[in-house]
Each structure stands twice: as C-alpha cells, then as structure tokens.
Symmetry: C2
Subunit: 156 residues, 2 copies
Amino acid sequence: MSTSQQALTPVTRTHIPGKIEQACREKGLRMTGPRVTIASILDSADDHPDVFELHRRAALIDEKISLSTVYRILRVLNKEGIIDRIDLNEGPARYEPTTEQPHDHLVNLDTGDFIEFRSKELDKLYNKIARKLGFKLVSHRLELYATPLDGESSNN
Amino acid sequence: MSTSQQALTPVTRTHIPGKIEQACREKGLRMTGPRVTIASILDSADDHPDVFELHRRAALIDEKISLSTVYRILRVLNKEGIIDRIDLNEGPARYEPTTEQPHDHLVNLDTGDFIEFRSKELDKLYNKIARKLGFKLVSHRLELYATPLDGESSNN
DNA sequence: TTAGGTGCAAACCGTTTGCAAAGTA
DNA sequence: TACTTTGCAAACGGTTTGCACCTAA
C-alpha cells in the first residue's frame, strides 16, 4: 500500500519486538540472536511449550541455536520473572509468559492441553488451611487433571 | 522374663508382619527378603522417606539390597495401591503408606517436613471449577509451601 | 520346578556445567 | 574493550532396564 514514495527502500522485514523482548530489555538483558528468537517464539505461542518444542521452533528460524542455550535463556527469563515454569509430574517443564494474575492449571487428559484459571476462593482456602495448621502460606502448586464433559468421555 | 518353662526354645525373634506386608500378601505379591525389609521400614516410618533414605535404612537390616531393587519394590507397591508416591518439584520422590482418606500436603519450608491434611471444601471447589470449565475432575495435585507462624519467621 | 525377583552395570531422560570461541554494549 | 553469552560435549541427579543368577511358592 505505501510503496509509492519510497519504492526503493529495501523491504527488510523490520523486527517488531514483542512483550517478552521488551521486558528483557527493560531488565537490562543483552539481546543476542538466540534471545530475540526465543523471545519472539514465546510471544507468539498460545500454548505451553517445553524446551524441546521451543528448540524445535527456534531451529526453524536459526538452525544453530543449541539446546543448552535454550535452557539457559529460559532460566534467566524465569529468574527475571518474565516467564513462568510449570513442572508437571512427568516429562519436561513447560513455559508460559508471566501473567498479571497468578493462576493455576487444569490439564486436559485427552489432549495434554492446559487451561488456565484463577480462583480467589481457592487462595482464601489455602491461606485458611495453612493458618489453621500453624503456618504462613508462602506459595502453592496445584494441577487439576480432568477430561472433557461433552463427547467421548462423558458418562464414565 | 518368660524363660522359665521353654528355656531351650531358640529365641528367633519371630517376624511380626505389619500392615504393608499383610497388604502385599493379600495382593499375592511374593514376599522375598528385600520386600519384607522395605515393607517393615515403611510400616515403622513416621516420615516421608525418599528412595535413598529407604535404601539407607534397608542397608542397616540387609546390607546387600540394591538401590534398583528398592526402586522396583516401591514401584510395585505403588502400582498395587499400597503406597503413595509424592513427586515434589525438586529432588527424589517421597513415599508414604496409602491412607484411607486421600489427603494433600503442606511442606514446612523451614524443615522440609510434610503435614498431611484433608479438606472437603477443597475437593468441592476443585470439582466445581472443573465442571465450570467443561471438564470432569479426575485427580489433582496440591502442595502448600509454608513457614511456621510462631518463633523465627513470624513477622515477615 | 518355574515364574518371578534380584544385583550389577549400563542406559535413560531432563537438565546443568566447563570450556574455548563468538558476540554484545 | 571488557564482560556476557554461546555451542559443544561431558556430567549431572533421579530413575529404569538388560541380563545372568537366585529364590519363593
């Protein structure tokens, strides 16, 4: 559309930094190639990929990013509070951009997908339980494992 | 004390099978030496030992029980529903005899100890949340991480 | 007697790390 | 430039497994 006046300007697809990359820069992290790549993948991911999946997606952009580099990047992003790490019972950890609201996950047992939810009632109960036991709640970890109500596995 | 009448009877400390060993026999498991040993350790444990601790305690009774055997035994006991395996975020899994009532754990961050608790309110909420999201709850996993209210870390 | 359990060592999986080379600010 | 990050390969911690031997039933 806007090719009329500056037709000879090279069409280098200028990189639009996403929220993750911005957060990294705000934290003063050096934005190397691998970091930009991983940041952009995380920004455009609408699932909860693990290291191997992230490495696979990164390889499509830059085939020489090593797995250990992905691990290291995820580690610093997590330490800086930019992404959350979700440790399941089995398999590799999953990652997601940190959300404003803390939340828990329901794992769809049929697909492995995550559904995020937040319940203030739960939080209240956790605090109440801890207090009752003589403790001050610091954090918690919850996963709900469930099957879809409709369709195949409804009346089981 | 009672050495008067049958003084010459060999004093072989007759093995009194605990609940775990009984449960194993009821499940038809072969009670080999290592299994009897691990079962008795689990029966008398009032904590939540990991494989290495169990192996250590087993070695005090029979120094040639191998670590892989302990792993294998814990695996079958877990599969048979005789013991529960607790997978924390870090470190080796912990084990406890299965209780009649399902329960969750509060982890004392100062000591690493577990406190077991059961909350029907929580169960109700979990079911309600799952249903609201269009799912049927199958299981859940919860750990509360907390510090003691009294003494050192109270007003933080 | 025989299906099953054991010890050992090697393999496994997810993750971290030591190092020398490459890159960022 | 000075200091950080990277790639590679090797090591890690927790757990499983292949195999030959052993043992409970």
